[in-house]
């Protein structure tokens, strides 16, 4: 490790994390910014993948965990900062890694860690005026019963009942002191609106005496093109965007807190609900993270099945994304329906394999839930060798050279290479900007090193290139699938006996996969109990949005919709 020579420079400020099952370094908070700059500039860890916090209640400590990687690929670097639980203050890394922006806001929102020097440290998933920080271990929600599932109180004398019957609605709601819900005016919106960039009449620079003003438009949360309940506050100068602020959290359900209550296996179907267009991919990431902690590997056949499902999921998700992008450009559903027709055929396979079309819940720790049913391999073979390649070419012919598509998307929403890395963009957004970073290649997991495929890459970083990268990735996925179907061995599909309660030794692990939307990471801390102590998701849609405002500035209002479509967010994953 080349980092060891740096321990001298940070004497006493940089230590190995010596807890059992943990890895990486513990940095003193005073030297954090300097350390981050060092690893970025001198060691080449220029890609900050994940920032999150863990509340170690018994130790009276809060830990902020950073995962950094090199954009050329290779293993990552984990470093942590430990601060006391009461009023924790950590220096912000936004000045070094702008991609930490939303993630630090999330950590402040949910864990109450104050990031000093953050330009805009507001709540992001909860609403302004929310009392407390829900991911703290001592925070209890209105219907709180117990901190771990299964709840014993749910079946007294063997009879199940709903907790709502015990505590009628509204009797259990607590408001912060001096708060009356009836006369409440959301200050957050006022603050947000006043914080928007407004060009005065003089700054407008049109050289005329005509006074102009911007109008503020709320695009969303109910809007046909935001793909869900997503809100953008847009300051418009005519049709041009002066400033844009995403407002998130309308679909927030505190996934991570619920995940901490659940047992390990209970979280598996729960991950389906993150990026609901790519449920198999979410399963994959979670299974990898927990398997890393448990120290098991699935059998050969299960690995092949997993890769097959993950790549089919990628095709499904990219088809959907291309279809909706064209819809956002104003095409009247035709490309969308052409794409969805193919998607349905793949969902048929999911249904045959897992019993469900969207919420598949198919992966298990150490394998998959059940073996492939008979005849399904032939079906996949026919699909990936005949029908899908033909249909992808068809989409390509219809869309790629269409004059309107080209004028609407070339040069729109450009994210230059350096900015893409800085903003921790992931997936097709990153690769369209000329960074050939694909977790399947950069830090190969499962059996991806056996397959022959290319990382799709384009260099302009605009909407058009993101579309082309997705199209190319579908083709590469088909290539992988053809190899999978050719090579898949017979044998077990699960190590050991299937079990409801897995034993997970104490420690931490970070499992990441290349999901269709980008790098999906699961950071899991176990304390040996049946429930995870911390269950964090590095969600690609959420982090890709960090650069969204920057991409939109100076473009037209019609372009915002196209840019959002090209980032391809799924609100289930953004808001968690």
């Amino acid at each position: 490790m080349t980092l060891e020579e740096y321990t001298d420079r940070f004497t006493g400020m940089l230590n190995f994390d010596e807890r059992k099952g943990y890895e990486g370094y513990i940095v003193h908070s005073e030297r954090l910014v300097e350390f981050a700059r060092t690893i970025r500039d001198e060691l080449g860890y220029d890609y900050l993948s994940s920032v999150t916090g863990v509340d170690y209640l018994p130790d009276e400590q809060i830990e902020v965990v950073y995962h950094a990687y090199r954009s050329q690929g290779g293993p990552g670097l984990v470093f942590k900062v430990q601060v006391p639980r009461i009023n924790p203050i950590v220096p912000s890394l936004v000045s070094i890694f702008p991609g930490a922006d939303f993630q630090e806001r999330e950590a402040w929102d949910l864990l109450g860690i104050r990031f000093e020097g953050h330009p805009n440290l507001r709540r992001i998933l909860m609403w302004e005026g929310f009392h407390g920080h829900p991911l703290r271990k001592d925070w209890e929600e209105p219907y709180f019963e117990e901190s771990e599932k299964p709840f014993n109180s749910r079946w007294p004398e063997g009879k199940a009942f709903r907790i709502e019957e015990n505590k009628p609605f509204k009797k259990n709601v607590q408001y912060p002191p001096e708060f009356t819900p009836d006369g409440w005016i959301p200050e957050a919106d006022t603050a947000l609106y006043s914080g928007m960039v407004r060009l005065g009449a003089k700054d407008a620079g049109n050289g005329r005496s005509l006074e102009t003003d911007q109008i503020l438009v709320n695009l969303g949360p109910q809007h046909p093109s935001t793909h869900g309940v997503f809100r953008m506050v847009v300051s418009l100068d005519g049709e041009e965007i002066a400033d844009l602020q995403p407002v998130l959290g309308y679909l927030h359900r505190n996934h991570e807190k619920i995940g901490e209550r659940n047992t390990y296996l209970m979280n598996m179907p729960f991950t389906d609900r993150l990026d609901y267009l790519a449920s198999m991919g979410n399963n994959f990431g979670y299974a990898l993270a927990v398997e890393k902690l448990m120290g098991i590997t699935p059998p050969e056949r299960a690995e092949y099945i997993r890769v097959m499902m993950a790549e089919l999921t990628r095709i499904v998700s990219h088809l959907f994304s291309i279809g909706t992008l064209l819809n956002d450009l104003g095409a009247f559903f035709t490309p969308m329906l052409y794409a969805l027709t193919e998607r349905e055929l793949i969902l048929d396979i999911f249904e045959a394999v897992s019993g469900s079309r969207m919420m598949c819940n198919y992966f298990r720790f150490g394998g998959v839930a059940r073996d492939l049913p008979e005849g399904i391999l032939e079906k996949v073979y026919e699909l990936v060798t005949e029908r899908l390649p033909r249909k992808v070419d068809e989409l390509d012919t219809y869309l790629t050279d269409n004059e309107i598509v080209r004028t609407r998307s070339i040069g729109i929403g450009v994210l230059p290479r350096e900015q893409a890395i800085e903003y921790s963009a992931a997936g097709p957004v990153l690769r369209a900007s000329g960074v050939g970073y694909d977790v399947r290649r950069a830090e190969s997991y499962s059996i991806y090193d056996r397959f022959d495929f290319d990382v799709a890459i384009r260099h302009n970083g605009d909407v058009y290139d993101r579309y082309l990268v997705r199209l190319e990735e579908i083709r590469q996925s088909l290539r992988i699938l053809q190899q999978v179907v050719r090579d898949i061995p017979d044998g077990e599909f699960q190590t050991g006996k299937p079990q409801y309660q897995v034993r997970v030794p104490p420690g931490e692990s970070y499992g990441r996969v290349e999901n269709p939307k980008g790098e999906l990471g699961f950071y899991i801390v176990s304390n040996g109990k049946p429930n995870p102590w911390r269950y964090h998701i590095r969600s690609p849609s959420f982090i890709n949005l960090t650069a969204f405002g920057e991409m939109c500035k100076g473009h037209k209002i019609a372009d915002v919709v196209a840019i959002l479509g090209s980032i391809d967010i799924v609100l289930g994953e953004v808001d968690r």
Binding site: H223, P224, D328, G330, T334, L337, N402, I404, A558, V561
Partner: protein, 331 residues
């Protein structure tokens, strides 16, 4: 005599309005079915045989919907706007000759007036007021943006539209639409005026806010643009205006460029005339639907640039060349 004339006019007016109303209803069904076919779907087929009762079901639904009027809107203008929009669409057909004279009976209401083309341009321009007023009166930012876009777009494309109609006027040397049709007996004007027809068609699509020029109501950006606050029958009126104008522009296009009611054997069997006209209109309508199903939307600023920098010069060029050739041939 006068009373009979009045009766004749009344009946003809009612028939023309019924053509638009019935046409509007069945055009929606036609569009939905045709779109569905293009999109590998089936389309509405449950209400009646082949879904023929679907428009009626839609109408009943819209009539019984709650009519919302936003509290902070300008109520008089809010109610007036859909009316202003829909009336021009209904009365435009008056100057279109539907067929040749059958036993001295004229099929068409006022197709003989000597300023027919001018009437079309004048009445068609009124509709833009309805849209602007709707956008303004709703007191909604999306509606306002939609209204602004509509004004700019319609004003820009109206110029090209009017210039495209100058071609047939010059060739037939009259503004009387019946005479223009009669002049096309041997040769349809689309042969003599291919560029003119193209400009007319593009500008007309923009004029009725159809895809890919449906800026004012761009669903993906402005939700529904100027009619975002309208519901129930008031919404249906806007809808009716759009589809009614679609029918009208197809009638005008068929009349001025595609030979109107002319076709084989019309001389012998004059009743074929209206049928030929109808077929031509249906084909043109299909082109409109086809365009909508296959093209993404052009961006607003590019649309304006296209209108002013390409369409208008091309239309002017077309007028100048046509005028020069007409003069040369006469001289």
């Amino acid at each position: 005599m006068d009373i009979f004339l009045l009766l004749e006019w009344t009946i003809k007016s009612v028939v023309i309005i019924l053509i638009i109303l019935g046409g509007f209803a069945y055009l929606t069904l036609y569009e939905r079915r045709a779109n569905a076919r293009i999109q590998t779907r089936i389309g509405p087929n449950r209400a009646g045989p082949w879904g023929l009762l679907q428009p009626i079901a839609d109408a009943i639904k819209l009539i019984f919907k709650e009519e919302l009027i936003p509290e902070k809107s300008d109520k008089v203008l809010f109610i007036l706007a859909p009316v202003i929009t829909v009336v021009p669409a209904m009365i435009l057909l008056a100057v279109i000759p539907m067929g040749p004279d059958i036993l001295g009976f004229k099929i068409g209401l006022a197709d003989g007036i000597n300023v027919g083309v001018l009437y079309i341009m004048a009445v068609a321009s009124i509709a833009v007021y309805g849209i602007v007023i709707a956008g303004w009166a709703s007191n909604n930012k999306y509606a306002l943006l939609g209204g602004l876009r509509a004004t700019a777009q319609m004003v820009s494309y109206e110029l090209s539209l009017a210039l495209a109609l100058v071609g047939p006027i010059m060739l037939a040397n009259t503004m009387n639409i019946r005479e223009i049709v009669v002049a096309q007996k041997g040769l349809w004007y689309i042969i003599l005026q291919p560029l003119g027809f193209l400009i007319y068609f593009i500008a007309a699509v923009a004029e009725v806010n159809r895809a890919p020029f449906d800026m004012p109501e761009a669903e993906q950006e402005l939700i529904a643009g100027y009619h975002v606050e309208y519901s129930g029958m008031k919404f249906a009126l806007f809808f009716m205006a759009e589809y009614g104008k679609m029918i009208v522009i197809c009638f005008i296009g068929a009349t001025l460029f595609l030979g109107g009611y002319w076709g084989p054997f019309v001389d012998q069997v004059p009743l074929l005339g209206p049928i030929y006209l109808f077929v031509k209109v249906v084909i043109l309508l299909f082109v409109l639907i086809w365009i909508r199903a296959t093209f993404p939307r052009i961006r607003y600023d590019r649309l304006m640039a296209f209108g002013w920098k390409i369409m208008l010069p091309a239309a002017l060029f077309n007028v100048v060349v046509t005028a020069a050739i007409v003069l040369l041939l006469e001289g």
